[in-house]
Amino acid sequence: MDPCLSRVLRAGAALLLSLHALAAPAAYPEKNIELVVGYKPGGGYSDWAQAIAPFIEKHLPRKANVLVRHMDGAGSAVAASYVQRARPDGYVIGIYNVAGLAATQLAREVPYDLKRVTWLARLSFDDSVALVLAKGPYKSIEDFKKRTKPEYIVSTRGLAATNTITGAVTFAKMGVKWKPLNHAGTGESVLAVLRGDADITWGSYESVQQYVESGDLKLVLYYDSKRDPKFPDVPIPGDLGMPELNESMNSHRLIGAPPGLPADVREVLEQAIKKAVDDPGFADVTKKMKKTPAYLNARETTVLVDGLLKSYQSYAGVVKDLLARDKK
């Protein structure tokens, strides 16, 4: 072929390709985006999803609806698998309970893989806490070292659940013997402590906040790098010689997309979410819901998840013990 012609052809091809590349991000989003929530309506995750969806919609570069779709099942694993298998075209994203999913991954075969999710942002995080009956016999977490019972009873919500693992790891480090009293829901597990059938329970602060505020339960341990100013007497794991537990077990609410999401689509979504979180309207809504956002961008979120997964892996042994076949 004539070298001049081939050069023209190549230039033309390059021009066409670049035009196409330019065209792609400009054309997203063209239709509705599904924001999948792995829990039923009425719960914390659903509230967050429904709160932020309209604001993401508002800050998208083109007009498209962000529709919340509830897909509860297997502790949000069904939703996580759904997003994992969806086409990475930016029209399906999900809100993730990373701690819960990471814990489940340790206990069973799962069809999702948190390492491969395209992380877009963190919406919030919640501190884990340990609670006892406010007017009960235990005044602090140290009381459990006194061995007043051969085995303390811990009220749980699934043995492979994040909160149970938190408790198991903590008690293992403290050398406390215990046995689980399992329930199907948070309400029932809290009731067990209120009745005195169980001695202690673990939870994420948001889900038990109302019981603390009403005075029924009191905190004995707060998992963070510094004490909560509202509860200056409640120690953090670092105070008791377990600083590695300060932040590794908290629950984070993340937004993610299927693996392999194109960089331009990811950019659009990341920006829209960031602007949504910064929107004063969103701040109003979260204040009314008494929830606090804690935004991290996509890169920071990915780093966070890697760290979390590593620390969860280190607790795999604890989980195996909990689920072991031959319990004595």
């Binding site: 599904e34 529709l67 779709r69 689920l323 072991a324 076949r325 319990k327």
Partner: protein, 160 residues
């Protein structure tokens, strides 16, 4: 003398279910397996007897006390509809099941609304032998109702 009937197949399936469940309890922790094992063993025993009765008329005659069909039942629960069925009743029944299965396949492959339109139309025109007008109106009407109530009303867009 063994007599294979639809009834025998049904009770055999229940027996099979009990067997499968019991089999799966072997891989479970002792306490997790406890209650299902107990229930499973009892069901295996009972359904086993039922299978024998259904397949062997001789056994049935001997165990009449297990086979009462008294009219003192609640609302017909427990009363066996014994009539021997004509061939076309059986055909109609399995055609019905086939239609439901096809409907579900359509839901999976297309969407709820489209599946409903197609499935209802097929049923009305070819199974029920209704008129063209009725078939079209009914299927479209139903689909419209579902659209208005579930998609627009409850915002369940995935039905589309």
């Amino acid at each position: 003398m063994i007599r294979i009937t639809e009834r025998g197949v049904f009770s055999s399936l229940i027996f099979l279910f009990a067997y499968v469940i019991l089999f799966r309890t072997l891989g479970l922790r002792a306490d997790v397996a406890l209650v299902p094992k107990m229930a499973g063993i009892i069901l295996l025993a009972f359904s086993g007897v039922q299978v024998l009765m259904d397949l062997f008329p001789a056994v049935r005659k001997r165990l009449t006390f297990l086979n009462r069909n008294s009219d003192g039942s609640i609302g017909g629960e427990g009363v066996v509809q014994e009539q021997d069925e004509a061939g076309d009743t059986l055909f109609a029944r399995y055609r019905f099941f086939g239609w439901v299965a096809a409907y579900i396949a359509l839901i999976y492959l297309t969407s709820m609304i489209w599946a409903t339109i197609i499935a209802l139309f097929v049923y009305l025109k070819w199974i029920n032998k209704e008129s063209w007008l009725m078939s079209v109106l009914y299927s479209l009407g139903m689909a419209l109702f579902i659209y208005l109530v579930f998609v627009l009303g409850f915002k369940l867009h995935y039905l589309l």
